[in-house]
């Protein structure tokens, strides 16, 4: 028994030390990259199933009505129809993305979301592009959508920043995460500077705005371009409520994100470095 334990302990310690050593040297990167290439499509499949399940449950109001609606829907849907709808949506998204990105002349990489952080990491997305696609830490991740009510042309909405990169995948910290900080300004007056912080995965707060600058409800908050890799003009949200009080050193405001962070599938990573 003692002999077995000592052999086993030796084996475990050796494996752990080898894993640390080879990872530090970078020898594991091609192997892990290969794993990721193989596993990413599986993750993408499960993530898409998860998103579709959530959409299904969120629209359910009355079980009987929902049952009837589901039966009718099931009869109407065929495999070809579902495939066509998916292709059409992806085509529309890609056209909007190309329209925005070509106008601004950014280099970019499209990426699929293949998972999310769990538990404490919940405000993190995992995407299927990494180092091998020239992505680095700090690059912004955007979503473009046509919002005729607000803008004249397809606009880039900042979703978050890349915080960890591996060979074939990256992790994106969403704006609404507690640890997220983005240098911001307002579109109406770019002299105004502040910092947008995420709050508990739900909302955003604009802080550190000097008292002598005017901010109003309805102002659009955009990136100020003061950070490395994040250009000026990416849309963060809209000021919903001014929260400053007498005696505060800086102005604060609650900011409503203009894009929903749920049910996202395809995003763009702006490659803004060298």
């Amino acid at each position: 028994m003692k002999n077995f334990l000592s052999k086993f302990s030796f084996f475990i310690i050796t494996v752990v030390l080898l894993l640390i050593f080879f990872h530090w040297l970078g020898f594991l990167n091609p192997v892990l990259g290969g794993f990721q290439k193989a596993v990413n499509p599986v993750q993408k499949f499960f993530y898409n199933v998860s998103v579709k399940s959530q959409v299904l449950f969120s629209t359910a109001e009355d079980p009987k009505k929902e049952n009837e609606a589901l039966k009718t829907r099931l009869e109407k849907f065929t495999v070809d129809q579902v495939k066509l709808e998916l292709l059409a949506r992806e085509n529309e998204i890609l056209r909007h993305e190309l329209d925005f990105l070509n106008k601004k002349k950014y280099q970019y990489a499209f990426a699929n979301i293949i998972g999310r952080g769990s538990g404490d990491e919940h405000q993190v997305f995992i995407i299927d592009k990494g180092e091998s696609h020239n992505i680095k830490n700090g690059y912004p991740v955007i979503f473009t959508k046509k919002s005729e009510a607000l803008f004249q042309e397809p606009a880039g909405f900042l979703l978050g920043k890349i915080i960890k990169v591996t060979r074939n995948s990256s992790q994106v910290l969403l704006l609404t995460d507690n640890k997220s900080l983005v240098a911001a300004t307002i579109s109406r007056d770019q002299e105004v500077s502040g910092l947008v912080k995420g709050e508990r995965g739900l909302t955003l707060r604009l802080d550190l705005v000097p008292l002598d600058k005017e901010i109003k409800e309805g102002d659009f908050v955009i990136t100020s371009g003061l950070e490395d890799f994040i250009p000026l003009g990416l849309i963060i949200g809209e000021i919903e409520k001014i929260e400053s009080r007498t005696g505060d050193f800086f102005q604060k405001a609650q900011v409503r994100p203009l894009v929903s962070f749920d049910n996202l599938g395809l995003v763009s990573v702006l490659i803004t470095g060298d």
Binding site: F46, R116, D120
Partner: protein, 173 residues
């Protein structure tokens, strides 16, 4: 060889389901499928449990926000403790014994994971750490509950398919 390949497939599926499917649901995103399966395998076949720890841990670390080997080392200690307790104290393969092992495994996993993250944070290997606040305790409680519920499902599934499983799924240790 076929049994090892089957286990590798199950490990990949477990990691993918945990990271990509369950993480999208607010309630289920605390379920630690990899931990439950590794602890469960520790009661059936220890060599396969080690495979689950290292392969599952490496895959978990690949898609984790935290530094390399945080998941693997936490899994390893949980499985080792579960195995020692299984061999010396909870020797009957009952549902109660498994539940206690899952509970202890979950607590040890989270304790070690938290300790490792703080060590890495202090050594400036990561700029992220876990806030020890009310939210963390709520998430931990949910994790314990969900792990226990899922272990019930696993336990009854395995018991009902025991003969078929032992021939085609388990390597004789």
């Amino acid at each position: 060889m076929l049994k090892i390949i089957l286990h590798i497939i199950f490990i990949v599926l477990a990691v993918s389901i945990q990271r990509s499917f369950l993480s999208g649901f607010v309630v289920l995103n605390n379920l630690n499928l990899l931990l439950i399966m590794a602890v469960f395998m520790a009661t059936l076949d220890f060599k396969l449990a080690i495979l689950w720890v290292f392969l599952g841990g490496v895959l978990g670390d690949m898609y984790s926000l935290y530094p390399w080997l945080s998941v693997t080392l936490s899994l390893l200690l949980s499985v080792l403790v579960a195995r020692i307790l299984f061999l010396n104290i909870f020797t009957n393969k009952s549902f109660g014994a498994l539940s206690i092992l899952i509970l202890i495994g979950t607590l040890i996993y989270n304790l070690l994971f938290l300790s490792l993250i703080y060590c890495f944070y202090l050594l400036k290997k990561t700029s992220f750490y876990i806030n020890l606040d009310f939210n963390y305790l709520v998430n931990l409680s949910w994790q314990v509950l969900e792990n226990l519920i899922f272990s019930v499902i696993i336990f009854y599934l395995v018991n009902s398919m025991k003969q078929r499983l032992s021939k085609s799924f388990l390597v004789q240790s």
